[in-house]
C-alpha cells in the first residue's frame, strides 16, 4: 500500500477507536503503534515510540503544566476564585446573561496569569457551572461559555501555543505575544457581545441574578470588590510580574504562581493537609490526562510524517494556486479542518513546516500570519470531536450537561473566533501596532 494511503488510513483508524469509546490518548498511541509497525517493522517500532515518549518527557516547557493546574485547584479551595467571581457577578449581574459575562471576564483575567487552556477552564468551570445552573441558565450557553472562556488561556498572553509556534517558526516569542494582545481583547469583546445579544433576544437563556446582592449599597459593593480583586491581582502580579521584571521565565512563573496560590490560601487560613493532598491528587489526574494526549499526539504525528503525510498535505496545497489571499485562506482553512481532529501541538508540528515556505514565497508578514494561525488554533479547542475544551469540561461538569449541549454551545463562540480572525485579516495593524511600540532596550 502506498505510504500516503496509510497516512490517510491513520485518521480513519483513530476515529474508529475514539468513537468506540477508547480514551483519546490510548487511541492516538495505538494508532501510532499499528501504523508504526508498517513504517518501521516490529524490531524498531518500540524504540521509535519510546523515543517519542522521551522527546515529550524532555520538554522543559511542559513543566509549566502541573504548577498551573495546582494553581487552579488550590485557588478554588482557597475561596479566592469564588470571591473574584462574586465581584464580577456583583458588577455584571444586572446585565442580560450577567453570570456568563462574569464568567468570560473572569476567564480573561485568569488567562493573563496562565498559559494553558485547561487551568483556566477548570477553575472557572468549577465555580461558574453550579451558579449558572442554579439560576437556570441555558445549558448550552453554560457549556459554551466555559469552553470559550477556557480557550482564552492561550489567546491572552502568556501562551504555551505562542511559545511553541515561535520556536518552530524561528521567530521572536516576545513580538508574537505582543501582537496577540489586541486580537485577544477583541475576542473577549466578541464573546461578551454574543452573550448580551443572545440574552437580550432570549432573556430566559440567561436570567438576571436575584436582587439581594444587586441592591447591596455602594460601601458593601466596594468591600466585596476589594476583597475579591486584591488576591487575584496579587497572583497576576506574582505570575506576570515575575515574567515582566525578569525574575522568572514563563515556565518558572507557573511555579511562582503555584507557590503564591498556596501562600494566599494559607493567609486565608484555608490551607490544611487534606487541601494539599486533594490538590495534588487532582493535579496528577489532570496532568497525566493532558500529558498522555501530548505523548500520543507526538507519536501519531511522527508516524504520520514518516509515512509521507506531510508530502500529501504539501501536494494538496501546491495544487491549489498561490495568490497571497489564497495562500492565507488555504492555510487557515486547513488549520480549521485539522482542528476538528488534531490537538494543537500536532497542528503546529504538521502544518507549520509546510506553510512557512509558502508564506515566505508570498511575502506575507510572518507575525501577522502567526497571529491568524494562533486564532485559528483557538477554534481547535472547541471543535469536536478532538476538542480539549470539551474534554476538560466533561471532567468537571455534572451529568445533566450533555455532550450535545457542549457541542451546540461552542458553535457560536467558534463563530466569534472566526469574526475576530476576519478583523485581523482586514486590519493587520491589530497585530503590528503593539510590537512596534515595544521599547526594546
Amino acid at each position: 500500500m502506498a505510504p500516503e494511503t496509510l497516512a490517510v488510513l491513520m485518521f480513519v483508524s483513530l476515529f474508529v477507536l475514539v468513537f468506540l469509546g477508547i480514551p483519546i490518548s490510548f487511541s492516538l498511541l495505538a494508532t501510532a503503534f499499528v501504523f508504526g509497525l508498517q513504517a518501521f517493522g516490529p524490531n524498531v517500532v518500540g524504540t521509535q515510540l519510546s523515543g517519542m515518549i522521551l522527546q515529550t518527557a524532555q520538554q522543559f516547557l511542559l513543566s509549566a503544566v502541573p504548577p498551573f493546574i495546582i494553581m487552579g485547584c488550590i485557588l478554588e479551595r482557597s475561596g479566592i476564585a469564588e470571591r473574584l467571581f462574586q465581584t464580577m457577578q456583583l458588577w455584571l449581574g444586572r446585565l442580560p446573561g450577567g453570570l456568563a459575562l462574569a464568567t468570560i471576564s473572569m476567564s480573561a483575567i485568569f488567562a493573563a496569569s496562565t498559559g494553558i487552556v485547561g487551568a483556566v477552564e477548570v477553575v472557572i468551570g468549577v465555580m461558574a457551572i453550579p451558579v449558572m445552573l442554579k439560576y437556570r441558565y441555558n445549558k448550552d450557553l453554560i457549556a459554551g461559555t466555559i469552553c470559550a472562556g477556557g480557550s482564552l488561556g492561550t489567546m491572552i498572553p502568556p501562551s504555551l501555543v505562542a511559545v511553541i509556534y515561535a520556536s518552530v517558526a524561528n521567530m521572536s516569542v516576545g513580538k508574537l505575544l505582543a501582537a496577540m494582545v489586541l486580537p485577544g481583547l477583541l475576542m473577549v469583546a466578541a464573546f461578551l457581545i454574543y452573550i448580551i445579544v443572545r440574552c437580550l433576544l432570549w432573556p430566559e437563556h440567561g436570567p438576571p441574578v436575584p436582587s439581594e446582592q444587586r441592591n447591596a449599597n455602594f460601601r458593601e459593593k466596594l468591600m466585596i470588590s476589594v476583597t475579591g480583586l486584591v488576591p487575584a491581582t496579587l497572583l497576576i502580579i506574582a505570575v506576570l510580574g515575575s515574567i515582566l521584571w525578569g525574575v522568572a521565565s514563563p515556565t518558572e512563573a507557573a511555579s511562582v504562581g503555584a507557590i503564591g496560590a498556596v501562600l494566599l490560601t494559607a493567609a486565608y487560613g484555608r490551607l490544611s493537609w487534606p487541601v494539599i493532598t486533594d490538590t495534588l491528587r487532582r493535579t496528577i489526574l489532570i496532568n497525566c490526562m493532558i500529558m498522555l494526549i501530548v505523548v500520543g499526539g507526538t507519536m501519531f504525528t511522527s508516524v504520520f510524517r514518516v509515512l509521507g503525510g506531510e508530502r500529501l498535505v504539501a501536494t494538496v496545497v501546491a495544487d491549489l494556486g498561490l495568490g497571497k489571499g489564497m495562500v492565507i485562506f488555504i492555510c487557515l482553512g486547513i488549520v480549521f479542518l485539522a482542528g476538528f481532529i488534531l490537538d494543537w501541538v500536532s497542528i503546529v508540528l504538521i502544518c507549520l513546516p509546510i506553510f512557512l515556505p509558502l508564506i515566505a514565497l508570498a511575502k506575507i508578514d510572518p507575525i501577522w500570519f502567526a497571529v491568524m494561525m494562533v486564532i485559528m488554533i483557538q477554534t481547535s479547542y472547541l471543535t469536536p470531536p478532538m476538542a480539549p475544551s470539551i474534554f476538560y469540561l466533561r471532567s468537571i461538569a455534572p451529568p445533566e450537561i450533555t455532550y450535545k449541549d457542549m457541542c451546540l454551545g461552542v458553535a457560536p463562540y467558534v463563530v466569534c473566533q472566526l469574526l475576530t480572525l476576519l478583523a485581523v485579516v482586514l486590519f493587520p495593524w491589530l497585530t503590528t501596532y503593539l510590537p512596534q511600540q515595544m521599547s526594546g532596550f
Binding site: T47, Q58, V163, I164
Partner: protein, 336 residues
C-alpha cells in the same frame, strides 16, 4: 541495479539552515551523482528521534543515517567536544583545510569506526556564531565576572571556572523573553542569520563579536559501519564526494546569509563591540587548558583520542596563524 533508500535523521526544522544548506543539498547531490540510485529521505528534527538522540536512532535502526554535530554526543568522550568546534578553536579560514588536509576527517572516521561501530563523513560546515547579545558591555575578560551568561556545554565550564561568570541554563524557546526582561545579562545562541531571525537584537543593546566560543563548526553524517561497508565502492565514493561538496558549499552559503543579516543589524540601534586580541588570547589560554585537562583525564581512563585530536587541532591552528601572513585576506577586524 540495486536501489538504496536511506532515512536521514536531522536536528532542526525544515526551514533552518542545518537542513536548507546541509541536509537537503546533500540529498540532492547524492541523487544526482548516483543517477538516482541512492535516495536520501530527509526528516526534520524530532520525527525519527528526539534531536539529541540522532546517533542512537542510527544505532537502533530508526534512521539509516543521521546528520548533526558531534557535540550532541556530549562530554563523556571529550573527543566529541573538540573535533567539530571548540572555544578558541579553528576559524572560518582554517577549518576546512584541517578537516580534509590536516587529518580531521580521517581521525573522525577512525574514531567512529573504532568506538561506535559507525562510519562517518564530514558533512557541512558553518561560520562563526555571535559571541553574545548582552545588556552589559563586555570588552575585557574582567567584564565577564558575575555576568549571568546563557550558554551550554564546555563553554559554560570555561566561562565559570576561567572567568567567574555565572552560566545560566535557559531552553532556546525561553531565551528571548529572559533576555528581554533582563532575567539574564548575556546569551549566545547561533550565527548572525539565525539570531537576527529570532530578534535578540531587539532586546539587548550590545552585540559582541566575533564568536570565538564557536569560531567555525562542522557536522558529520553517520551510518552503521556494517551497512556502509556493504555498499558498492562506487556508491561509497559518490556519497563521499557529495558530502565534501556540501561541506564547501554550506560554509559559504551560510556566510552569505549572515552577511545579509549583518547588513540589517548594522542599520539598527545596537552597539557592536569587537573583542580585542588580549581578550581572545586569554580565552584561548583558558580553553586550551580546559581541553588538555579533559584530555589528560580521558587518557588516564584509557582513551587517547581527546589528546590526539586536541593536539592536531591546536598544532594546525598555530601553524596556520604563523604562516598565514603571506596570504592576501579580504578580512578586516572591525566594521569601520
Amino acid at each position: 541495479q540495486q536501489q538504496y533508500t536511506f532515512r536521514m535523521a536531522t536536528i532542526a526544522p525544515k526551514t533552518a539552515v542545518y537542513n536548507t544548506d546541509i541536509s537537503d543539498p546533500f540529498a540532492a547531490h547524492v541523487a544526482r551523482l548516483t543517477d538516482g540510485k541512492v535516495k536520501v529521505e530527509v526528516f526534520e528534527g524530532g520525527v525519527l528521534a528526539p534531536i539529541f538522540k540522532i546517533y542512537e536512532a542510527v544505532e537502533d535502526g530508526r534512521a539509516d543515517i543521521a546528520v548533526g554535530p558531534p557535540t550532541f554526543l556530549g562530554g563523556q568522550d571529550p573527543t566529541n567536544l573538540i573535533i567539530s568546534s571548540f572555544p578558541s578553536g579553528l576559524g572560518v579560514d582554517s577549518l576546512i583545510p584541517w578537516l580534509y588536509l590536516g587529518g580531521g576527517q580521517q581521525m573522525l572516521t577512525q574514531h567512529r569506526r573504532e568506538k561506535m561501530k559507525m562510519h562517518s563523513l564530514i558533512l557541512g560546515a558553518g561560520p562563526s556564531e555571535i559571541f553574545a547579545h548582552s545588556h552589559k558591555a563586555i570588552r575585557t575578560v574582567e567584564d565577564l565576572k558575575g555576568v549571568k551568561f546563557r550558554t551550554l556545554g564546555n563553554w559554560a565550564a570555561i566561562l565559570k571556572d576561567g572567568f567567574g561568570a555565572a552560566p545560566v541554563v535557559v531552553p532556546g524557546s525561553e531565551l528571548y523573553g529572559m533576555l528581554e526582561k533582563k532575567g539574564i545579562d548575556a546569551m549566545e545562541y547561533s550565527m548572525p542569520s539565525e539570531n537576527k531571525a529570532l530578534g535578540y537584537q531587539e532586546v539587548a543593546r550590545y552585540i559582541i563579536m566575533p564568536g570565538i566560543h564557536a569560531g567555525a563548526w562542522s557536522f558529520e553524517v553517520v551510518m552503521k559501519m556494517e551497512k556502509w561497508d556493504a555498499l558498492p565502492k562506487d556508491i561509497q565514493d559518490k556519497i563521499a564526494v557529495a558530502a565534501k561538496l556540501t561541506t564547501y558549499e554550506s560554509l559559504h552559503s551560510i556566510v552569505m546569509k549572515d552577511f545579509a543579516a549583518l547588513e540589517e543589524l548594522m542599520k539598527g540601534k545596537n552597539e557592536i563591540i569587537i573583542l580585542d586580541d588580549t581578550f581572545k588570547n586569554k580565552v584561548k589560554d583558558a580553553s586550551r587548558k580546559w581541553a588538555f585537562e579533559a584530555a589528560a583525564k580521558a587518557k588516564t581512563e584509557g582513551n587517547p583520542w581527546p589528546e590526539r585530536v586536541a593536539k592536531s587541532v591546536f598544532d594546525f591552528q598555530d601553524r596556520w596563524a604563523k604562516l598565514s601572513p603571506y596570504m592576501v585576506m579580504d578580512h578586516r577586524f572591525n566594521f569601520q
